[in-house]
């Protein structure tokens, strides 16, 4: 009787030469960031899948992602320009520049807050860095953000406004700050929501308040900031990380710092008269704070992650 074949086994790399992965209760933040970076391809993959699934079997596909922002734009335009007669010329550009930024921020945070709970199926069964789920939600929002550049371009052409191209470079620090800040909060809230499910509702309400605290539908140089300025509290306004980003976008796309009010005929300053460097510095400050927050969020995420599979 022949025993089992003893053919020589093809050589695999011996274990001591392979990459070692450690599963334990505590893993350092830097190690987590390292794994996140090495798995970045999965973020784009999951973002693409998200979008694909969302618009599968719909005739208009991605175009639907524009419907809600445009509706929002139409409503705010109607209320502030037509009903309240704020008298800002070419208001649609000013408004949409801020709304684009806000939609990205709000979209990222609200969709990622619930994402770990929604995807409990894979969280419980497949091993990958969990932070990738909220980050992929942010990734999907990047696509929607880019989509919004199409109506933005259309508005610029129709209204006949030229963006301030000399300041266009400011968009880079602003975008980086926006991306990092949104990612940090997304990662943080997605983890907290597993522990306390009402995080999701809390975040929705907080976002509503945050929207009105950010100069999007009204201009920065308005009553609120004047009063704060008199009290030497302008920094408090700028402490809202969204303010510098929104201001930068408005400054680039809406080239008028001073306008002639179409209703009263008065000369008004509606944007800060800062030099470009101030904008850049503020954006970089948000970027730095955002990056620190991101590291903190990943650390919190790591602490809570151990219980995910149990809490879901």
């Amino acid at each position: 009787m022949t025993e089992q074949s003893t053919a020589p086994r093809p050589q695999r790399r011996p274990p001591e030469q392979r990459e070692t992965r450690i599963v334990s209760a505590r893993s350092s933040v830097w190690r987590r960031l390292e794994t996140l970076w090495s798995d970045r391809e999965l973020v784009t993959h999951l973002s693409r899948t998200d979008i694909k699934v969302k618009y599968k079997n719909s005739a208009l596909g991605l175009v639907w992602s524009l419907v809600s922002p445009l509706m929002q734009l139409a409503i705010y335009y109607f209320v502030f320009q037509v009903v309240l007669k704020n008298g800002v010329p070419d208001f649609v550009i000013f408004l949409f520049a801020g709304l684009m930024v806000w939609n990205f921020f709000q979209g990222s945070i609200t969709t990622s807050t619930g994402i770990i709970v929604e995807r409990s199926g894979i969280v419980k069964k497949v091993s990958f860095p969990r932070e990738i789920l909220p980050l992929s939600a942010v990734g999907a929002q990047v696509v929607y953000f880019v989509m919004q550049l199409i109506p933005m371009a259309a508005f610029l052409l129709i209204v006949g406004v030229n963006p301030d191209w000399s300041l266009a470079w400011l968009l880079f620090p602003a975008l980086a700050a926006l991306l990092v800040m949104a990612s940090a909060l997304s990662v943080l809230f997605s983890a907290l929501n597993v522990k306390a499910r009402d995080m999701k509702h809390l975040v929705e309400i907080a976002m509503m308040a945050w929207f009105w605290l950010t100069p999007i539908v009204y201009s920065f140089e308005y009553q609120l900031s004047k009063q704060l300025h008199n009290l030497h509290l302008t920094w408090l306004y700028l402490a809202n990380p969204m303010t510098p980003i929104v201001l930068t976008f408005q400054r680039v796309f809406y080239p008028h710092v001073q306008i002639v009010n179409t209703r009263t005929g008065a000369l008004e300053t509606i944007q800060p008269t800062w030099p470009a460097t101030t904008y850049a510095l503020l954006d970089v400050a948000v970027l730095v704070v955002g990056a620190a927050l991101f590291v903190g969020a990943v650390s919190v995420f790591g602490r809570l992650e151990g219980n995910f599979a149990e809490e879901l």
Binding site: M1, P15, E16, V126, D198
Partner: protein, 396 residues
């Protein structure tokens, strides 16, 4: 053993079971302070290592911590204390097709699942055809997964997991699904993996599978490691443990509601005339049995080759296997007929069960070993002696 591929170092996992879940902030405010909970120790200081190229089985009853252990190894759960070291890439089959998006096509899901297992798009491109071929889903690969049957779903999941070239493969009872032909295919793939020197961790309820596939087995019970031994020994420890406890998933035993009752026990098993036989010798056993009260018992015999291949498991409900034993010690003689196998070493397990599989009274793993010598020139496993005669043919 050189540097192990997987090291489980003092891993414990405690689950906190809340008696009333407080998953919302409101409830935390309304009922502040302590919420009542009990700690459930799912794993208690488990420690073992798996060498490169080794196949290790994990057996245990339901709730013994097998799946928790696998999840810790895969990194889905983090141990409460201790750590797991995995050297090389790992592909975990905790649930087949777990990462699938049902709205997407099979093709998209292969890429998605591959990405989750850490493969780049180009890596998946390279093995894509193999995956499709293995899953036998050529015609349906561009169909949305939601239209797949559960069998197709599982096939695609397995195909992806085994084609991503992992150093370590972790399998959690997934072989229990799929039709027999596909199961055979999976087992064959596992064999290839073994030949390629990959490391496999394998959870199974099936003692035969563990014996056939694994080099070693770890027995878990109540989160503690009872044994880390050869498959035969591990299965013996496991079955002994089952004998003491309500058997909810008795390995290989008749698949019915089983109660372990020590009404009767096996004292010893002897092979009549010694354990060295020649092919076609009659195989007779003498079994010492002690019963507390007169009992009807059925006897079940399993004969294995040393490498774990099961030759037969007899039916304890067959009328000739049932006997009434008196309420004291007695000796049963068993005639197993002629042992028509070619040479080799064999092991026999003997079980004493209640009628219609209602109870396992006793189970002796490796109750007897048999050596068979064969002097003829036939090869294979069975001793078949053809007797040939000539008959006149038809003239038409």
């Amino acid at each position: 053993m050189g540097v192990p591929a997987v090291e489980v170092q003092g891993v414990s996992k405690t689950f906190r079971l809340y008696h009333e879940r407080r998953a919302s902030l409101k409830e935390r405010f309304v009922h502040p302070g302590r919420s009542t909970y009990t700690d459930l120790v799912a794993l208690d200081d488990v420690e073992f290592a798996v060498g490169a190229g080794e196949t290790v089985g994990i057996i245990g009853r339901n709730g013994s911590g097998k799946s928790t252990l696998l999840k810790c190894i895969c990194g889905v759960l983090q141990p409460t204390s201790g750590q797991v070291l995995v050297r090389g890439s790992l592909s975990g089959l905790l649930e087949l097709g777990a990462g699938f998006q049902i709205e997407l096509s099979g093709r998209d899901n292969v890429y998605l699942n591959g990405a989750m297992l850490g493969l780049s798009r180009r890596d998946v491109d390279r093995v894509f055809d193999d995956i499709v071929a293995f899953s036998e889903l050529e015609q349906f690969i561009d169909t949305q997964v939601k239209f797949y049957s559960s069998g197709m779903y599982v096939r695609l999941g397995f195909a992806v997991a085994v084609n991503v070239d992992p150093d370590v493969l972790v399998i959690d009872e997934v072989l229990a699904v799929g039709d027999e032909q596909f199961q055979a295919k999976c087992l064959e793939r596992i064999r290839t993996f073994q030949e390629e020197g990959r490391t496999i961790l394998f959870v199974s309820h099936n003692a035969d599978q563990v014996r056939t596939i694994c080099d070693r087995a770890v027995v878990l019970d109540d989160g503690k490691m009872l044994a880390d031994a050869t498959p035969g020994e591990a299965v013996r420890v496991f079955r002994e443990r089952l004998g003491d406890l309500p058997a909810d998933d008795a390995l290989g035993a008749p698949n019915r509601q089983l109660r372990a009752v020590r009404t009767a026990e096996i004292l010893g098993v002897d092979v009549v005339g010694g354990a060295s036989l020649h092919t076609s010798d009659p195989l007779r056993l003498r079994i010492g049995v002690r019963a507390k009260e007169p009992t009807r018992v059925g006897l079940v015999f399993e004969i294995h080759r040393l490498n774990g291949v099961l030759l037969c498991r007899t039916d304890p409900d067959a009328p000739s296997a049932i006997v009434e034993v008196p309420g004291k010690e007695c000796v049963l003689t068993v005639d197993l007929g002629r042992f028509e196998v070619l040479d080799g070493a064999f092991q026999m397990n003997v079980g004493l069960v209640g009628p219609h599989g209602t109870a396992i009274y006793d189970w002796k793993e490796c109750a007897a070993s048999i050596d068979v010598t064969y002097e003829g020139r036939a090869s294979g496993m069975l001793a078949v002696t053809p007797v040939v005669a000539v008959e006149p043919g038809h003239d038409d």
